[in-house]
Amino acid sequence: MFEIMDKKVLAPNIKWIRVRAPIVARNAHAGQFVILRLHEKGERIPLTLFKWNEEEGYIELVFQEVGKTTYELGSYEPGDKIMDVVGPLGNPTPIQNYGTAVIVSGGVGAPIGYAVTRALKEAGNRVVSIIGFRSKEYVILEDEFKKISDELLITTDDGSYIRKGFTTDVLREYLENGGKADYVFTVGPVIMMKLISQITKEYGIKTDASLNPLMVDGTGMCGACRVTVGGEIKFACADGPDFDAHQVDFDELMSRLVEYRPEEKIALDKYMKGGC
């Protein structure tokens, strides 16, 4: 059992938790994730690591309440226990000194972007963070990003904070104005990653995207997480989750992500009615 040590609400439906999981913290690296199962009847869902601390034996996760499991997790309080947490899973994001690295994160991709930004910074890169949110109330982790970014560009879809526009607009302007980018890392909604990757392709910038398909085991055993990269079948959990963004079939990923939409709705409705 894995105890929740602390919890905060970062934005509407976006929560941060610290979970005691020494064995996961020990070998964790930026870009990796865990799979958790809340209780005996729970499903296994992946959540990417935001922070971890080996000495104190904890990991931190940020998640948005979208389906039954995330709502239920959101209702857990410090002291409550998660039945199963396994990880770290997936390959760490390949970190090296590229020169200038631009990290483009959208929405709840921000915590993953944060972990990668920090690692890239520690590796000696000049890091430029571009983060987009729906509106002011959804802005999260601004201070954290400020501390580790050489340049921080925040945008909101509706212009309610800092500026109006999508991360794609910001990246394009940055590049058009002669901003340097030797490497781009992108994480967030699939459509955003797809468009970011189109821009960096035009500019010929090496780009990795962190993919978030549906998963079951998270260890390469089932193929639920399969994606097409460069025409080949890859398992995101075992071969990824980061892939060369210019090779990824984002449309297929988008389609596969909604496979269980109807079932997810049934489960959520049932949960909301209090019949868990």
Partner: protein
């Protein structure tokens, strides 16, 4: 006066096919004492040193010996004889391909039906369990040495059982949230109730084996971490990575690997959605690609979650199917439709990206391949479509590379199986391996045999046998 020999085997009572496709309860119901005694009475009691059935058993169970004990109504005695070489009779009695092993060699076959050895083995194990009888085991005093077992499938569990009895401090590490490997996530409840694997694990715990779940070796801990804390390691990590055919449409929604399909149903209980959180797609028509046990399990599970028309798509002919005969028979009785000499070439989707049809091509059989089975050759121009709502791939599995991808010392074959020698030693000192991880997809009983011999080899190593300079690869 001796009774005349009874030529027909005593059939095991089974659930009616019409009923059983609506539930996940076990299909074969087990012998009663009366039936078991009748079947046991048919055995000719060949002398142990040349009983052909024993030679056919991968773990050398003394079959005439335990059958004699059944006749004497001595369940404890029968159980102890089986346990001398087989720690998991509840399981092997249910899932071994007996017709290719012990029963294949039974001399009764010359005059009538062969003895129903598997069912008798199951009877002994079930009866003992019901009566709360355990075999007498001797556990050597703790010798201060620690062994780590990676993977809790039949190979790992068997190795753990033997090593703990030899006095080792044994810990089993498992990646999933439950123990048993394929026994819990793959083989369905109606063939092997999950409670059986659980019972065996509890028994091992009672002998002192420690179990730690949610540890993916290669990720959570590396092999190096483990070798720091343990004197030897046994890798029983199976062959868990499913194969797909890279043909157009393979990633459409509704196309599963058998592992995913069966894991959702068995391990995650998707058949009880939404009481359980894990969903599974339910439709009308489903095609399973493949002809082994895994394919039969997927097809029969599909019926049980409500698919009305279920097809087995197999590229060769019926006699080449690798599934146990009993599974094929059960699948037929339950209404699974078999299509032979066909292979998929493409999947067609609807506007939402869900699979709606599979395009198949007819094959003819050509020259035999390495396995001695005639190779299927597609006949151009014979393509045709089959409408489906879902497809399950059951075309084989490879070992999962997560374990060894960052361990250059561990060498693998071109099929991705770990290289080991006669004594199950890998190319890394102190590390042994067995089961599907070294054989590729094989059987429960072969995995158990490897676990057993692996445990013996670990014992010899830890008692001072030197590690060889060079590992001479054993062919499986």
């Amino acid at each position: 006066m001796p009774k005349p020999l009874k030529k027909q085997r005593v059939p095991m009572p089974e659930q009616d096919p019409k009923e059983r496709i609506h539930n996940f309860n076990e299909v074969a119901l087990g012998y009663t004492w009366e039936l078991a005694l009748e079947e046991a009475s048919r055995c000719l009691q060949c002398p142990v040193n040349h009983a052909p059935c024993i030679k056919g058993c991968p773990v050398d169970v003394n079959i005439p010996g335990f059958i004699k004990k059944i006749r004497e109504k001595d369940i404890k005695g029968a159980l102890e004889i089986i346990h001398e070489t087989n720690a998991l009779p509840c399981i092997t009695g249910r899932v071994c391909p007996q017709e290719q092993q012990c029963e294949m060699h039974c001399v009764m076959g010359k005059v009538g039906d062969k003895i129903n050895i598997g069912k008798l083995e199951r009877f002994v194990a079930d009866e003992a369990k019901k009566m709360g009888i355990y075999p007498e085991v001797y556990i050597a005093p703790n010798n201060g040495k620690k062994v780590a077992i990676i993977g809790s499938g039949p190979a790992g569990l068997t190795a753990a059982a033997d090593l703990v009895k030899m006095g080792y401090d044994v810990t089993v590490f498992e990646a999933l949230h439950d123990y048993g490997g394929v026994l819990i996530y793959g083989i369905p409840e109606f063939r092997l109730p999950k409670e059986i694997a659980r019972y065996e694990v509890e028994y091992l715990k009672s002998l002192g084996v420690k179990f730690i779940k949610n540890v993916v070796v290669g990720k959570t801990l590396t092999i190096y971490d483990i070798l720091n804390d343990y004197d030897a390691v046994f890798l029983g990590t199976g062959a868990g990575t499913p194969n797909f055919l890279n043909i157009p449409g393979v990633n459409l929604k509704g196309i599963y690997s058998a592992n995913e399909f069966l894991t959702r149903i068995n391990l995650m209980k998707a058949f009880k959605f939404p009481e359980y959180d894990t969903p599974i797609k339910r439709g009308k028509k489903l095609a399973v690609i493949g002809g082994g046990n895994v394919a039969m399990d997927a097809a029969r599970s599909a019926l049980r979650i409500g698919y009305e028309e279920v097809y087995i798509i197999y590229r060769r002919t019926k006699e080449y199917m690798t599934a146990r005969k009993e599974e094929i028979k059960h699948a037929e009785e339950e209404g699974v439709k078999f299509m032979f000499l066909v292979s998929p070439v493409e999947f067609v989707g609807n506007e939402e990206g869900n699979v709606k049809a599979v395009v198949l091509i007819m094959n003819e059989l050509g020259e035999p391949d390495e396995s001695g089975r005639r190779r299927p050759k597609p006949v151009p121009g014979t393509e045709f479509g089959l409408e489906v709502d879902a497809v399950v791939f059951a075309i084989g599995q490879r070992p999962n590379k997560v374990l060894y991808q960052e361990v250059p010392e561990l060498k693998v074959t071109k099929w991705g199986t770990l290289i080991v020698d006669e004594k199950y030693r890998t190319t890394m000192k102190g590390v042994f391996a067995g089961g599907d991880a070294v054989r590729g997809e094989a059987t429960v009983v072969l995995a158990m045999g490897d676990g057993k011999r692996g445990a013996r080899a670990i014992d010899e190593y830890l008692k001072g046998e030197p590690w060889p300079e060079k590992i001479e690869p054993k062919n499986f």
